[in-house]
């Protein structure tokens, strides 16, 4: 290895180290701030942890039912992820491999709905939920995830690129039902793509604040992000800052775990497809 490529390599590493520091610093600051008092956070900035972790934890545990919030959030996130994954895959498969009248129209409609930001439809959504008497229940937070145009769009493109139509011929000849084909053959082939979308759905649901904030009234039903917001209302914001950071840090843990669990699918999902045959 000559000197030139070595120096290029060194430069590359330097750049990568810089980049990862940049990505990691905010997380580190969040963790550090979780161990400092509100006053310290307001009046200064430090890269070294402080000594108030126990104190912050006391504020959190006195004011919030963290376990309950965790379970609520987890329940919502798991339900959403499952529904998004399964039904989007089903729709994407149908749109990609079945020829029926109106398929094009439906697909175009999906694309259009993808462009509409969800905040726009919120007023109407709230009214609808209210008319149905579903305010303060989990239904309006879970069921709409059955229809998620962006995921369908991604999975349709994905399956078109990873699965040739010919694969479906063998099971059809063997007499498998259409649903069996989907469950036994299509779903496993789509798994990496689904995983990619699933992690997005999981994180999206886990971090979702606005809609649960509007729909849920009972404190015990609140998911974590809404609970965190409540903490800042509990007392003077300056005294709660450390505790708020602590809850945020704790609530980021499942996302990290989810990412670790799914990351190899994400990477393969994004890179797979092109040259496979």
């Amino acid at each position: 290895m000559d000197a030139k490529s070595k120096s290029v390599k060194a430069l590359l590493y330097l750049f990568l180290i810089l980049l990862s520091t940049l990505c990691f610093t905010p997380f580190w600051l969040m963790i550090v701030n979780a161990t400092r008092t509100g006053n310290e956070i307001m009046t200064g900035f430090s890269l070294l942890p402080g000594g108030s972790l126990a104190e912050n934890w006391k504020i959190v545990s006195e004011n919030l039912n963290l376990g309950r919030g965790f379970l609520n959030s987890l329940f919502l996130a798991v339900c959403n992820t499952a529904l998004v994954s399964y039904f989007s895959a089903l729709t994407a498969y149908g749109l990609a491999y079945y020829k029926f009248k109106g398929a094009k129209v439906i697909f175009t409609a999906l694309l259009i709905f993808m462009m509409v930001p969800s905040q726009l439809s919120m007023l109407g959504f709230y009214d609808l939920v209210n008319q149905m008497g579903l305010i303060d229940t989990y239904w309006p937070l879970i069921l709409p995830s059955i229809a998620s145009p962006a995921t369908v769009f991604f999975l349709r493109q994905y399956i078109l690129s990873v699965m040739p139509k010919a694969i479906l011929e063998a099971p059809r000849i063997d007499g498998a039902s259409e649903f069996k084909i989907f469950h036994k053959i299509v779903l496993p082939i789509m798994a990496p793509g689904i995983a990619t979308m699933a992690i997005g759905a999981f994180i999206g649901s886990w971090n979702n604040y606005l809609i649960p904030m509007l729909i849920i009234n009972t404190p015990a039903k609140r998911p974590l992000p809404v609970m965190v917001a409540e903490l800042s209302a509990v007392r003077d914001i300056t005294t709660n800052m450390g505790a708020t950071y602590l809850v945020v840090a704790i609530s980021a843990v499942p996302i990290m775990i989810a990412f670790c669990f799914f990351s190899k699918y994400i990477i393969s999902g994004i890179s797979a497809g092109s040259v496979k045959e």
Binding site: F75, V78, L187
Partner: protein
Amino acid sequence: MKKLTAMILALLMTLSLASCSSAGNPGNDNPGTPTQGGGSQQGGDEKQDDIVLWTLSNDLKQFAERYETETGNHVEVVVFDSADFETKIMQTLGAKSKDLDVFVGEPQMLPNFYEAGFCADLSALDSEVKTRLVDYTYEAGCDEDGVLRAISYQACPGSVIYRRDLAKEVFGTDDPDEIAKHFSSFEEIEKTADTLQAKGYCVFGDEGALRWFSNRDPWVKDGQIIINQDRLDYMDCATHLYQNDQVAYALEWSAPWYASMAGPLPKISEAQSGDVWGMDKDQLINEGAAGGEGITQVFSYVMPSWGALIVRDNAEGNKGNFGVCSGPCSFFGGGTFLTVNEFSQHKQAAQKFIEFCTLNDETSQWWLEASNGDVVNNKAVLENNKDYLNESFGNQNTYAFYLAEMEKIDFNLTGYDDACKDAWGKAITAVKKGEQTKEQAVQEFYQNVITQFPELSVPADSPYYNG
């Protein structure tokens, strides 16, 4: 692999269906039975007088506990984040929800709530509120037609919170009445700033503190925007303080601002004020020493009564070293008002609870002590505490001071205030930085406001107005 995926998915599906039906329980939501706390403990013994309260802070939880021990009626207190509270109320009550009986509002939210028809008529309590509570809170609690719809348990009169030790050094006295003379008008404040500067001190953290004094006259009256000599003086004063470097550039709520309450602060330039936002005190002092401009101290803060508590809580070694006095005009800021949901099915019970929080002398006295210094709305109770010597403020009779101050508050809140203050602030910034002449800035202000609210007009005799 595919078996695993299928199994996981199947598991998730079953799980989701199973728990949906138990947690969601949509069939339980028929009108008539208000949805109660968490769907948990309360069974069938729900009393008619139990109510649900939506609020922004934990204060009312303490009230609710006390209410329950005294009357046996349960108040379910639900706390929401203040940033989204107004949205939440607008959505929920916009849909005529019966799920809550009492909710709170801050003075600037209340007009919107009144207009939307969310607040029930409380005029049964009108005469009591009018005579026993502080005047400005009564006015803030009335809608446009003068019908009482909201009542507050606290009052938030403003004050100048000043350093007694510095006052003695510079003015030879720390007597509130004497110091108030140095803050009696915008011209006086300029002179005070000059005097303080000669001794190396700053009059305020930043000149934004003056904005509290901008409400001596309403911003809009009879559809006309009001710019008078007083507002121009305010602009001149802010410009004077800024251009002569008489403030510490410690912006409200920033690290240097908090730090200034506890002690000396490096003299920084305005350009630096953005950079020091995150520094701690030692860093700040090093920075100041490096900048070569030395150390300064902030003489005073302009805040409502709850701000005095912030100063007290951050004063550290300076605790007890502060005093409160009046400024050029009396003002108020913030405060939590209670109001009954128009669509509630427990209006009587709700009103009883509000009465308990606001009009009960014992409750007020208890809260004054329990909150460690909150100024309550009940005049008789404040009167009883007139002689209380507040250690945190150099043994001043703070309640007596606030009581007198509140009487002077001229309630003139309009729906245009925020926009006007914003635009006027911009005009001041442009003038103080020398970007615009006073004339240009004021004209632009008129234009700004008229563009936002075409229904408003500018009186022909307004300064710098050319038709």
